[in-house]
Each structure stands twice: as structure tokens, then as C-alpha cells.
Amino acid sequence: MKDKRWFIFIIGFFVVLAGVGFWGYRQSTERRQLEVILNNNYYRTFYELTENVQYLTVLLSKILVAEAPNQDRLIFMEIWQRANAAQINLTQLPLPDTMMIRTSKFFTQVGDYAYSFFKADTPVVKTKEKWETLNRLYKKADSLNTELADIEKQLTQGKLYLSELKEGVSGVIQREKPKLARASFKDIEKHMEDIPVLIYDGPFSGHLEKRKPRAISGAKITAPRAQSIALTFMEQQSSNGKYQVKKINLDRGKIPAYRVELVSRPLLSKKDRITLAVSQQGGQVLWLTKARKINRPQISLAKAREIARRYLEVRGYKDMVPVYFEVIGGMVIFNFAATQDKVVLYPDQVKVTVALDTGEVTGFEASAFFMTHYKRKLLPPRLTVTQARKKLSPRLQVRSKGRLVVIPTGPEREKLTYEFQGQLDKDTFLIYINALNGQEEKLLRVVRNKEGILTL
């Protein structure tokens, strides 16, 4: 009897053991499969990167000897594409996001630089300086190519691995354990130290990082002065009530500013905190945020727009026209553009958010406005609106009269254009015809949904 119980116990033990073993085996195979899938993805990215860098190197060497303008343009276009693709590949590798920033910048700027040649209105001219720059970029790409080829060799020999999830080789018997490829990438990054500063007409050009705000001037203000400016700004409309300063910091962003934290007086809710920034130079209110729970919408969009317009007007923003709005999370964000002699200045925008339950203004943003706003020298248009309208595609059903607007066409670049709204089937487009030479400068498609629409 006793023996039998023992026997059952032992059988039971082995059944459980087998079960656990099987489960463990399943788990480990599954894990290995997942690792392989993940690693394969990383390897694909890596091989794409090496291929793109190979092409990039060859193209950069070709551009040094190419002479025909159309040949140039083609090569520059391909450099642009290859460099962009390489940048995408690089940023998808499992490396710390801050580790490869110089290499990443190299790809971005080479691509952007090439694109600036590609899109230039006049035939490409490779001046001596530009040729030298291209030559240096070629040298960089060339050594990068060699280094990547070296990593590739070690990867195939199993001496390196990419992901921190090792493939199942973490055995004890291996004499030389494979190393994480991270160190090799670090070397690449180190060699990117002396890439030339590239200045050209493109969004990633070196000089743009140091852009100064155009509309900020005057003397530096003190912290107490910033506090009183903040309070005046908040209390300008009596319905907003009274406020008290909780905290003030000086931030060193693009526009150095005092960040002032306010609470309402008397304190209504602990979370009811308002933050606004007052520029150190000139004492301008740059932005404001207020967080609170927003309840069911009670007021119409038209009402909210009027509240926003009035809010700006009281604070000295005159002649602003609403250009766009968006409804989200119980609030509406209005974008207003400045005008000059009735011409809409699209680059100079101020934004206001209105909570749709009570109509309270919960946000204000003008730092972009202070970066770009200035009095433009607008040349009189050489085309009339009727002449401009004739440049539109005959397939479009034109829906608007057309108005004069200034649009940004690149960093630090603007053009005076006529804006038309047109319809093709159910799609709405905005077309911008240059008011001086009749060229179509820009074509935008308006995406409408129930939450947002471009207001015209």
C-alpha cells in the first residue's frame, strides 16, 4: 500500500517535470524566434545603411567630375535621396538616440545641401568653394563607407552583434565572445567631429540654428517687472479674476524668458495653475498655458472665435485674421495671421485656445510671431487678380475671389502671392500664384473634418 502511494507520487512528479520541461522548451523556442525576427530587422536596416552609404560615396565622387548641368541635377537628386534613406536607416539601429547625432547630422545636411542645388532656379554652378566642400563631404562619406564595411565583415564573422538581445550563442564554450557593435559605431561618430559647417538655402542649414527673433527689441527687464507684466496680461479682462505669482524662473531657450507660474486668488483648485513666459529682452508675453478639466461644450465656434479675437485685440494684436482652427480635447485652437495693408502675412501667426465649456482662454502662443514678424517691404503686384486666376489649372473649379498673401517658401524666404481656393471633385486645394511673375509657388490640399478646417 505504502509502495503504491510512493509509486503514484513518483509518476506524478515525472509528469509535472515533463510538463514544465515542455513548457520551458516552448518558451525558449518562441523567445529565440522573436530574437531572430528582431535581429533580422536590425540586420536588414544595417545592410540598407551600408548600401546607401556606398551609393552616396560614389555619387559624391561623381559630382566632383560631372560637368553637364542636367547630369549634375540628377546626381544631386540621387544624393538627396540616398542621404535621406541612410539617415532613416541609421536612426533605426538599436543604438542610444544620442550616440550617432553627428553622423545623423552629416546625412541630413548632405541630403539637404544636395537638394538645395537640385531645386535651384538657375543651372548648378559649382564654385571653387562649393567644389571644395563637396570634396570634403566625399572624403567623409568615403571613410564612413570603409568603417561600415569593416563592421559588416565582423558581423558576418559573428564577432559583433547589433541588438542587445543576443541570438542564442551565449554559450560557455565559445572562446571569443561576440561583442556589441555599439563600440564600433562610437568610433564612426568620433570621426565625424570635423564635418564642415554647411550654409545654404535649406531647412537644415547650419546658420538657421542661430536665428535671432526679429520682433524682440528693447532693454532687459528684471524678474519683478516680468511678474507685473504677467499679472497685467492675465488681468486685462476683468472676468479673468485676480492672480498671484507662485514661482518665477529664467529660462535660456531661443528667446530667453522669465517663466512665471500663477495661481488664481482666491485659490479655486490646486491644479488650476497658469504658466506664462515673458521675454527677458523687451518684456513681451511669449506664451501662456492653463490646464484644467474641460466639461461638455456649451459655446459655439463663432462665439469662441470672437472671444479669441477680442483677447488679442485687448492685448495689442490688431488687424489679425483667423486662418485656421482645430477642435480637440474640449477646446479649440485658433490660428490668427497678421496683416499689412490688407495683405495676410502667413508666417506671422499667433494662436489662442478657448475652452468650449465656459469660453475661457486657456492658451496663447506668440513666440513664433516674435521670431518672424517685421514690417515687410511689399512690392506692388505685377499681376492683377484676374491675370493670376488665368494661371490656374482649367480642371479646377475656383471657389474664391483670390486675395493677396505672403507665404513662406523656405527658411527665411517669403513670396507675395494670390491665394485661390479651388475644387477638384471632392478635394479642396489652395493654390498660390506669385503676384510678381505668375508662377505657381505652392499647392496645398485642405483636409476637412468635423474638428478642423482652414478658414478663408
Binding site: P94, D97, A120
Partner: protein
């Protein structure tokens, strides 16, 4: 290794207009036909049908619709560019017309990274992500920035998959519309957590809530 696709090797400079009749006209007609502007026979004679096709082509390609095939029209057709060719900038959707899916994705990352931060701190996290988009150092798409390996802790550990709160959604929308409490920061970190000493070499802009912002 790398072979460049050769361009069309026609050294085409001749201007064509109504009444022209030569092999180049056939070339023109063929190309216009390929692209669906010209429907008649390719006969090498520049007649009314050809002229209409040219004008339509010019209109839709930002050229002066004069029905004369000069250097710029040849170039737009894909043949050798003459002087003063204008290429169009890549056409995008206006900054104002935002993609809703992107707002929700951004809101979830804000929720994951800054759920317990003050509102300005939430907007600031959104702004850092969007500043990266415009920086040469980082990927140039929102998904690229958010899913860059090792970039955001909440993405790496899956926490960002929680639904976003109303506040995070508001913060996402506001950062998309230009609010940037950090004044151009590219990095943020919580000094109470274990972090790489490398971050302290960056230019610190400010501290909002528990996060330090730097560029």
C-alpha cells in the same frame, strides 16, 4: 557598383510652335501622349491638337501656358534643361492641417513620459519631440522620432500604449500648433533617475516639473 540612370540623351534646344514640323515634334507628341495630354496621332506636325495639349501640360506644370515649347517646357517634359528652369519644391500639406493620428500618437507618448508632470511640462515633452523632427540630428518623421530605439523610455517599455488623458491630448495639440515651453529643447531627462552622464554636457535651458530640458 552604383550605376546612375542616364538622363535622356537628347541635346534638345529647338523651340517648337504651331506649324512646326520636324522629328522633334514627334518626340513632343509621344511624350505628351505617354502622359495623357495628347490623344491624337503622333504625326510630327504641330497642329491645333498638339498646341492644346502643350497648353494643358504647361498649365498643370506651373509653366506659362503659351503653347510654345521652349527650354523650360522641354525640361519639364524630361528633356535637356535649358536655362532658368524652375523646379518645384516638394509639395506638402500645410503645417496647420495636422494629421489627427499623429496628435493621438504624440498624446500617448506625452502620457507615458509625463503623466504626473504639470501641464506646461506635458506641452514641453511634446515640443521636444517636435523639435527633434526639425533638427538635423534626429529622424524627420514623427514616427521616426518616437520609435527611434532607446529614445523614449515609455515607448521602449510599452507604457505609452495606455490611452491618453484629456490633458495629454490638449498638450499634444498645443505643441503641434507651436507652443514650446522649452524654447527649442531637444532633450529632457529626470535627474532623479539613472541617466548617462553624457546628458549633462548639453546646454540646459530650464527645469519644468521634474524634467530638465536641454539642447
Amino acid at each position: 557598383m552604383a550605376v546612375l540612370g542616364t538622363s535622356y540623351a537628347f541635346a534638345q534646344e529647338r523651340t517648337l510652335y504651331w506649324g512646326s514640323s520636324n522629328p522633334d515634334v514627334s518626340l513632343l507628341q509621344q511624350q505628351l501622349k505617354n502622359w495623357g495630354y495628347y490623344r491624337a496621332r503622333v504625326d510630327g506636325v504641330f497642329g491645333n491638337a498638339t498646341q492644346q495639349a502643350v497648353i494643358n501640360f504647361q498649365r498643370l506644370n506651373g509653366l506659362v501656358p503659351d503653347g510654345v515649347v521652349g527650354a523650360s517646357t522641354w525640361s519639364a517634359l524630361g528633356y535637356s534643361p535649358g536655362e532658368n528652369v524652375s523646379y518645384h519644391e516638394s509639395v506638402g500639406v500645410s503645417r496647420g492641417v495636422t494629421n489627427r493620428d499623429e496628435i493621438y500618437l504624440l498624446a500617448r507618448v506625452i502620457e507615458g513620459e509625463a503623466a504626473n508632470e504639470p501641464f506646461a511640462g506635458k506641452v514641453a515633452v511634446g515640443a521636444v519631440i517636435l523639435n527633434r523632427l526639425r533638427s538635423a540630428l534626429f529622424p524627420h518623421t514623427l514616427a521616426g522620432v518616437i520609435y527611434q530605439p532607446h529614445a523614449f523610455e515609455s515607448v521602449a517599455n510599452g507604457q505609452y500604449n495606455r490611452p491618453a488623458s484629456q490633458e495629454s491630448l490638449q498638450a499634444a495639440a498645443m505643441s503641434m500648433n507651436g507652443w514650446d515651453p522649452t524654447g527649442g529643447a531637444l532633450y529632457f531627462w529626470n535627474p532623479a533617475k539613472a541617466i548617462s552622464p553624457w546628458v549633462w554636457t548639453k546646454n540646459i535651458i530650464s527645469q519644468i516639473g521634474r524634467h530638465i530640458f536641454a539642447r
